[in-house]
């Protein structure tokens, strides 16, 4: 069993594939690189921050660390932004930042070989194709693969402050 898995992973890395965490936004299925995921938790106690775009829900206390929360449903304009006990927050760790993203539900962890990932067509949708690595197919279902690092680092999301560099931030990093 273990060896079988091991060889599967080896094979994946050999042909450029990776493992993805899949989640749903409304009726669409998305996937992000599992290695960027830190943990998954429920949605509660978000402190609002003034004068921010609607998709920034605010910040939460994650065991003493202050983490911003982005609602991808609002950002991508899919599904309905409702919050209840089944609303899920995926905590991701990219660009030395910890960020939470709100999704409707987390489905699975899947391994996708590189050849099953097709480039995304130009759609003109609110989710810019720049942030889509490709469209994966899994059991006849389509999976939108998001380059979460690029998305979080983008100017649109306004999470990464380009005016202050990282060295200065550490001053108040307690």
């Amino acid at each position: 069993m273990q060896t079988a898995q091991g060889s599967a992973v080896e094979q994946l890395t050999a042909d450029g594939g990776a493992e993805y965490l899949t989640f749903t936004l409304g009726s669409e299925s998305y996937g992000i690189d599992i290695l960027k995921v830190q943990e998954i938790r429920g949605y509660d106690c978000v402190t609002r921050i003034a004068n921010t775009p609607a998709f920034i829900k605010g910040v939460i206390n994650l065991r003493g660390v202050i983490v911003p929360i982005v609602d991808l449903r609002i950002k991508f304009n899919v599904g309905e932004a409702t919050y209840h006990e089944f609303t899920v927050v995926i905590i991701i760790n990219v660009l030395n930042k910890v960020v939470g993203i709100v999704v409707d539900g987390v489905s699975d962890v899947v391994a996708l070989p590189a050849q099953s990932i097709k480039p995304a067509p130009e759609l003109g949708a609110s989710l810019d194709t720049r942030y889509i690595t490709g469209l994966g197919t899994l059991n006849d279902e389509m999976l939108i693969l998001v380059d979460i690092e690029k998305l979080i680092g983008s100017d649109e999301l306004q999470i990464v402050d380009s005016t202050v560099d990282n060295t200065q931030k550490e001053a108040v990093n307690l």
Binding site: T47, A50, N51, I66, K97, D161, A171, L174
Partner: protein
Amino acid sequence: MTTPSGETNSVDLNRFNQVFFEECAENLAEMEQILISLGDREPDPEQMNAIFRAAHSIKGGAGIFGFNDMTVVTHVMESLLDRLRNQEIPFAPEMIDLFLEAGDAIAMQLAGHREGKAVDQEVIDGVRARLQQAIDAGGRATAPGLPADHAEGAPPPQEELLPRRCRLAFTPDPEIFARGIRMESIISELAELAEPGEFHSSARLMDVPELAEVDPERCLTRWEFTMLTRASREQILDVFMFVADEEQLQIEEDEPVDRRTPEGEPAPEQGIVPAAGRRAYDSNETAPGAFGRRGNETEASFRVNVTKVDQLVNQVGELLITQAMLSQIAVGLDPILHETLQRGLVQLERNTRDLQGSVMSIRLVPISIVFNRFPRLVRDIAAKLGKQVELKTTGDSTELDRGLIEKIADPLGHLVRNALDHGLETPETRAACGKNPTGTLQLSASQVGGRIVIDVIDDGAGLNRERILAKALECGIPCSEAMSDEEVWQLIFAPGFSTASEVTDLSGRGVGMDVVIKNVQAIGGRVQIASEAGKGARFTISLPLTLAILEGLSVAVGEEKFIIPLNVVIESLQPKPEQLKSVNGREVVQVRGEYLPILKLHRIFNLEAEVIEPQRGILVLVEADGERGAILVDALLDEQQVVVKSIETNYRRVEGSAGATILGDGRVALILDLPELFTMHKKL
């Protein structure tokens, strides 16, 4: 030997290297400080000894840790110092500059080993040659037939002892080889201390295990040395610096051979005396010069890794939050039924506060650490610019957070450079203006309320309003003639601004002042400028005392809670309708004859508040940076200590907040930044 253990060894060695690097840097800093304080005077014997000790420690450490290139310069320097100390060579003022350059060369080598920076071998060879020249020149100037000493330098006359027989028993730590210590170098150093032909050593093996279990890296040998020596006990102990603990080395000294007690030195004690410890935290270590350490080091201290302290501060912060949470839960409990619990909680609160105070004090360091860098900088720059400058510092012992100290050094350096380059005039100009040709640059630090204020004051020409405005216009920075002086001064902080008519290698590249303000703002500070034409300028940096913990007032606005730093709060009140007025559509409140603008948090932060009418809510009167206002909130909740957390770690800067904290219920609350809030209010 297996690979894993090999790795551990190299890591261990690395750790010792770090200790050496730190000590070396400290020794260099101390040496430089003494040299600068001398000016052109001849050092007194105590200062001379201190410089010598610093050089000797660097050399000794470098030798032990295998940085042989570093011993080269130090060795020549030490020889010259030794000759000076023994008055074999007359002192010359140029030597101070020479020693300073030598210090720089060593610092460069240190940086080379520590951070892998490039080392300019030419500079090092040059310094070394000139040091050697000074020795040779001095040697010719005085009696040429001085007794040729061995390379280690002769012991100073007051420490010179008559030859006596010493027996040393050294039982090393079994891990000694793993620490990279080489016995042969210790033995040869010892042999140099001994009279010629009067050194014997023997080695004995102890408790040898079965051959199969022998680890060649464990030291099982015990050494015994017998020698006839003139060296003092300290010199012998110096050889074992970094090598032996007090229980590992025993020294037995006989009476001097010719039975005369040497002058000024008490007769060595008879019998086996355990050597004094050589660890920095050993309280026995008070003898000046012992082990090449500073003589005035009276308080015992030891080094702790900074990350450990930071971890401790973080953990205390978490404890504070937990304690606040428990207190909050206990509020809802019947005080009679749960009397013991309540008492316990009060006790807990007191203890946490004490603990927090102690932990925070670890992080506080005196600002003299930064100030001490400037005498050298000022001396060098003044020499380069041909200006005469006297540097004064006051409030050196003002303490602030270690994290801040590191961040403030650069901006402060910029301001000092700027004052020297643009502020102070040349001696001729000054004399022409009827001023003292020697300009004064003053650095002062003090604590004002919850903030640290650092002033950089020069008595130079002051800022030139017309030139700044003209330059701002030229650089495309928005400005107008109608601006107040204060606003004009702030223009120099705009990116790309520089008034220097020519670019020097010190300043004037237009990257400077905007970096200063950026760096200062990044640590929650502000810069204010006061200037008077012809009289001088004053740059005032004000910084928060610590970044980690803050006394705050928690207030509620609708669903949200905010923290107002307590040091800005004057009072809070429920306004009466007659106190509320309107000025040009803006609401103000009249308090004791003063009209204060009302800052409505729910409007500034776009919140849904319960209270919109000021007379139904509570006004918190605040003052920050000389500006006053009244913040409208729904309710006052609590006065508490909050742990400041950075929002910027994972998110961007949030306008109007100086950070965030975690409340007892686990929620995040923003800490208000008053000056920014005033600005936001004006923009509404």
